[in-house]
Structure formats: structure tokens, C-alpha cells
């Protein structure tokens, strides 16, 4: 099971061929969209001009993806994991964005991996498995 990071959802919404190829390697039942990622995507959409073609098309692409994959809300288990991970990072003096901790915590709570284009920060989370989508998809 994989949890899509915001940068991966953005790439899929923009119909980037490498992202679509990579997604196709999983079954929709194994692909998770979580509420922290949705929050960031809605923020990005809200910054675009209301009624613009771009916003309409991107919102439509987001809706298509949302409809096809599994949804998970921010759960109590994820909240607990978030607190643990943030404290660990703080103790190591290695802070990362709260949203990255939140996304990683959802994945850890589900026993899933995170699919991302940017492993630099997420790899600091203890025990998190990462799918690096910046690498070429397997044939």
C-alpha cells in the first residue's frame, strides 16, 4: 500500500507521463490519498484564479484521482505517530516540515510506504518506507 505525497498528487493532476506510468504499477485499492495531502492540494487550487480554465481542469483531475483511490482521514494513530516522530526529530535537531511529518505519520499508521519525488526530508522519519518516484519507473 502506498500513500501519495503532495508532490506526486500534483504530478498526477498535471498528467505527467512518468507519474501516470508509475501509478499504473499499483492497484487502486493499494493507493491512498490522505487528508493532509488533500489540504495542501486544496490550498494550491485556491490560489489559482477562481473560474480560470487552469483551476477548473486541475480540480477536475484531482477529483478523478480522488474518486479512483482509497481515502484516509487523519486518524488517532497517525496523530500519535506524528507526535512521536516530531519529538524524535527535535531531539536530533533535524526538523522537517510538519506536513511531511503528517503524511509520513499516516503512512506509518497504515503500515504503508510514501510515494514521493523528494525523499530528502521524509527519509528522516524513523521506520518509514519510501517509494522514490524521481527514479524511472520499472519496465
Amino acid at each position: 500500500m502506498i500513500v501519495l505525497h503532495t508532490n506526486v498528487v500534483s504530478a498526477l493532476m498535471h498528467r505527467l507521463p512518468t507519474a501516470l506510468s508509475r501509478l499504473r504499477m499499483s492497484e487502486p485499492v493499494d493507493v491512498v490519498l490522505c487528508s493532509p495531502v488533500a489540504a495542501e492540494i486544496h490550498y494550491g487550487l485556491s490560489r489559482l484564479a477562481a473560474g480560470s480554465r487552469r483551476r477548473t481542469v486541475l480540480a477536475d483531475e484531482y477529483a478523478r484521482l480522488r474518486e479512483a483511490v482509497v481515502w484516509t482521514d487523519w486518524t488517532e494513530a497517525a496523530a500519535s505517530e506524528f507526535g512521536r516522530q516530531k519529538a524524535l526529530l527535535g531531539a536530533r535537531g533535524s526538523a522537517i516540515e510538519d506536513m511531511d511529518i503528517a503524511i509520513g505519520s499516516v503512512a506509518l499508521a497504515l503500515g504503508a510506504r510514501v510515494a514521493t519525488y523528494d525523499v530528502r526530508h521524509l527519509e528522516r522519519l524513523e521506520g518509514l518506507s519510501i517509494d522514490d518516484w524521481s527514479e524511472s519507473p520499472a519496465p
Partner: protein, 88 residues
């Protein structure tokens, strides 16, 4: 065939609707529910038809999408960097 039992909570009225459907089809309520579950599981293992095709987009829309990808990603990153002022 071995079977397992579980308890499911339905929204008010849905069970009556299921019973009506079962009666129309001449099958049991259990059969209607199991068939629905089977269909859901089958659907969730396949991407919707045309999901990976770009036929639902015009060439102009696709060009706009791909050209705007970096800008959108940058906007998300900018949002992350903005922090509320420290509480005093």
C-alpha cells in the same frame, strides 16, 4: 464453502431498500449484500476505464497542464514555508 459472519450498521432506510431489491430479484438479502461487496472489490482492483488515457483533455488543456506543473508545485512549497508569527 466456508462462510464468516459479521455485524454491519446500515443507515436508516437502507436495509428496507435492500430487502425490496432482494424481493424484486428473488434472492436473499444476504445475496444482495455479498454481490455488492464482490462488485466493490472487483472495481477497486481496476483503474476506471480511460483513467490513464488523455482523451478527456484537449491538446491545449494538456499543454497548459504540463507547462503549469512546476508553477503549481512551487506554489505548494511556498505555502509550506510561510509561518505564522511567533506568539508573544
Amino acid at each position: 464453502m466456508r462462510v464468516a459472519n459479521t455485524s454491519v450498521h446500515f443507515p436508516e432506510g437502507m436495509l428496507d431498500e435492500l430487502d425490496r431489491l432482494a424481493e424484486e430479484r428473488g434472492v436473499s438479502r444476504n445475496r444482495v449484500i455479498v454481490d455488492s461487496c464482490r462488485q466493490t472489490l472487483r472495481t477497486q482492483r481496476q483503474w476506471p476505464p480511460g483513467f490513464f488515457s488523455n482523451e478527456h483533455r484537449t491538446a491545449v488543456e494538456l499543454r497548459d497542464l504540463r507547462e503549469g506543473a512546476e508553477e503549481f508545485a512551487r506554489a505548494l512549497t511556498t505555502g509550506r514555508r510561510r509561518r505564522a508569527p511567533p506568539l508573544r
